[in-house]
């Protein structure tokens, strides 16, 4: 992480600033550029090239594809080759270069279209910086996310489209792999737990990073896994107790086969006995299989496996911590 405060301040000073002043596109909306676009995109929709077909759909005539809006405001090859266009955007890019963020990749685009452009329309655009993130390690490299808002208007000053645009500016060669794309491929999801009315409270609590134990409201006996009735006194009344998170390894296995794409192998599956007395099946983390022993003290950690699943896992407590 960068510790250069003055650099951070200089960067954050760009947030809220207009980095590209309202600038008119080089050419009015025209058939040649539309044709070039739809042919390149392999788009056969007739409303882009056939005035009669466009009129048959209630339009005045040929329209430009809405996703082409930005193309009308691009500054062209000559200006591109001449270098940056000057102004605040150049200053921002120079500052990012200074920080080593010389590579760029677009990550998100949210484009809202207010009207379709017709032949002869003139489009302009301005761009304002909405946010610059702190430095982050990504698959492609160490970098910062830069979010800007572009507003496109026509010759009558009507807003044609608004685009929220996020790019990652990163340091080349600092990624996790020479093949970043493969690295970015998401791992398969863990198998879904079979959630029902009797155990939902337990998984809901896990999502809030609370490990709860079901307790009989009549006799006070703790039980796990969750169930509708107390095996001790058969009462259906229950409440919960929040576990301290301390426990010991009661038993464990090292799974090698069959591999499931959600897991890394060898996979440590353990029965952990909680300080409160109940046991649960879980995974051990931060330890090699050879170093696990029965009775080993372990402490709760939370695994946010995916947006829909949070599970408790346990890490050995070091001697120092004991």
């Amino acid at each position: 992480m960068s510790t250069d405060t003055s650099y951070e301040e200089r960067l954050q000073a760009f947030v809220g600033r207009e980095v590209i002043a309202r600038r008119k596109g080089q050419d009015a909306v025209n058939q040649a550029m539309i044709r070039h676009w739809v042919e390149a995109m392999l788009d056969d929709n007739p409303i882009y090239t056939d005035a009669e077909a466009a009129r048959a759909t209630g339009r005045n005539g040929v329209v430009a594809p809405v996703t082409m809006t930005q193309a009308w405001t691009m500054r062209g090859l000559k200006a591109h080759l001449a270098g940056t266009g000057g102004g605040a955007m150049s200053e921002l890019l120079a500052l990012l270069d200074e920080g080593g963020y010389t590579s760029v990749v677009a990550t998100d685009s949210d484009f809202e279209f207010h009207r379709e452009l017709e032949i002869g329309d003139e489009v302009d655009a301005d761009e304002v910086v909405a946010a610059i993130s702190e430095e982050k390690a990504t698959g492609l490299g160490i970098g910062r996310f830069v979010t800007t808002v572009r507003t496109y208007r026509d010759q009558h000053d009507r807003v044609v489209a608004v685009q929220n645009w996020r790019t990652l500016r990163f340091k080349p060669g600092t990624g996790r792999s020479a093949k970043p794309a493969e690295e970015e491929k998401p791992r398969a999801l863990r198998p879904r737990p079979a959630i029902n009315l009797d155990n939902q409270f337990w998984f809901d609590a896990a999502k809030e990073h609370r490990l709860v134990i079901q307790r009989c409201a009549d006799c006070g006996q703790l039980r796990h896994p969750p169930g509708p009735a107390c095996p001790h006194c058969q009462s259906f009344d229950w409440d919960t107790l929040e576990a301290s998170g301390e426990g010991t390894v009661y038993s464990y296995i090292v799974a090698h086969h069959p591999p499931h794409p959600a897991f890394e192998y060898p996979l440590l599956i353990a029965v952990v006995e909680l300080a409160e007395g109940t046991r649960l099946t879980t995974n051990l983390v931060g330890v090699e299989p050879a170093d696990v022993t029965i009775g080993m003290p372990v402490r709760l950690e939370w695994l946010d496996a995916d947006p829909d699943l949070t599970l408790p896992v346990f890490r050995p407590v070091t001697e120092q911590e004991q």
Binding site: T57, Q70, A71, A181, K185
Partner: protein, 145 residues
Amino acid sequence: MSIDFDAVQVGDTLPDDPIEITRTLIIATALASRDYQDVHHDPVLAVERGSKDIFMNILASNGMVDRYVTAWAGPNARVNRVKIRLGVSNYPGDTMTMKGTVLAKDEQARTIDLEVVGENSLGNHLSGTATIELPETIELPEVTA
């Protein structure tokens, strides 16, 4: 032919559309969108900048969503919004398969929200939503002799 708004149901799936990602497609779409960033046409510079090859630009990714949803909905449809997240790159030699599902329908506004994914051999190139509108078509009165 355009789809019948009333016949569209939430959960309907759009037919898959596989798109061959050729160098020609990547470069032609980059130039048609007037994006002259070298990573979209120069393989040597693309590698120098940390990529494995040239890759499709985001204007083209947006264009592919536009093309996919309007090819399904027909020429009457207007595209109100395209919101996408970019994942893995579209490199030459790959195939991106466009997939879509009807997420929601607004009867009043006559809009349809579509979940759209463009998937290649590395994972999702793009994923997001597109909103299209199908304005009421004017029924012409039958001409009687």
